[in-house]
Symmetry: C2
Subunit: 218 residues, 2 copies
């Protein structure tokens, strides 16, 4: 029984990694749909979110069953409660990819993103992919080094976000309020995506080292 | 031991209610600081968030200790895992109150909110207070009726939010991009606050009835 119990724990972890990869694909596709005004890709992201939500449900249920049947203590207990938290960060990251896809869909056949801020959003997309891919590594290998790197990628996202606002507020912003609203919300979605990746990494660091870093208020 | 265990469960629930009330005060103060451009109130909200975060930490730790020492099953186990989820919704709602206070602080001594959209933000503040106060009742009394009402208040928040956008996009919006960005983000903060209140209520409904309502992707 103990053997199958630890196998179950490992399998739950493998599912978390798979879920992180699915979220990464969703984010990457969402960014492409946004920058190419590709409504078919946007719809893929929107439809695919059900699968991510179902994965969350399934992982939560398996964690709950382990808690109820195995009554784990100490390290195993902490592993399970950490998994339950990570799964909700990942689900939320999937939702944010959907929000981005929905902006693309709403403005189609127009481009939601004008040329002036295209480089920043392209970069935000790249950093987001990097963040979720490192988060997957952190989950898979409990890799503390990757967790530290991820914090730096989050700093890069903050810089992109600030750059985006500078652009919106420059005197020669030629687009109207509607586009400014879209870009403001898009910037917020990418920033929140990054925050959740940091949160995933910090939960694993805490699990492994017992060191808790202050959770950002953003 | 069983007796003190159930007392501990009840006490944790009482702490959740207190935390919800603290979040309600933070939100109410944040709205006032925003509408009155009152930087002292804004600072109160910002400083007070440490207390809310500490309450979260303490409730989580107590839940974890119960899981480890008492190895609860069935209903008690679900009560504890639900508390662990609710506490993270509440903490996030506190963060959103801080975000609102920070907009007030950033624009001080100017008003962040121009007269045109003041009624909508006043109303958003009222609905937010109603939502968190009902959420506290739902937690305290497992009151399913209050949980249903709360969903309607959330619809009201969505309407306010849409009205805000209409106003921003009307041809006679006389304020610049910067104000539009502020209002866009403020609208988002109030909307997310409402979403988390709904999430709290749904978690309690699920705990009591076993009925899970689909969690919104917003």
């Amino acid at each position: 029984m103990r053997q199958s119990y630890h196998e179950e724990l490992e399998d739950i972890n493998a599912c978390l990694v798979e879920m992180a990869n699915a979220v990464g694909s969703a984010m990457s596709t969402a960014t492409t749909s946004l920058l190419d005004a590709d409504v078919a890709l946007a719809d893929l992201v929107i439809a695919g979110d059900d699968h991510i939500d179902a994965t969350r449900e399934s992982i939560e249920q398996r964690c709950f069953t382990l808690l109820a049947r195995q009554q784990p203590v100490a390290g195993d207990l902490r592993t399970i409660t950490t998994a339950m938290r990570i799964v909700s960060d990942l689900e939320r990251m999937g939702d944010l990819a959907v929000h981005i896809a929905k902006v693309a869909r709403m403005r189609f056949p127009d481009h939601a993103v004008p040329q002036e801020v295209r480089p920043q959003l392209l970069e935000a997309g790249h950093v987001a992919e990097m963040l979720i891919s490192k988060a997957a590594t952190v989950i898979a290998k409990r890799d503390i080094e990757a967790a530290r790197e991820l914090e730096k990628d989050d700093d890069a996202m903050d810089q992109i976000h600030r750059g985006l606002f500078r652009q919106l507020l420059s005197d020669d912003w030629p687009h109207g309020i509607e586009t400014a609203i879209d870009i403001t919300l898009l910037g917020r979605y990418y920033e929140r995506f990054a925050d959740h990746a940091v949160s995933v990494a910090r939960r694993v660091v805490y699990l492994v080292t017992g060191e808790r870093e202050p959770v950002s208020a953003d």
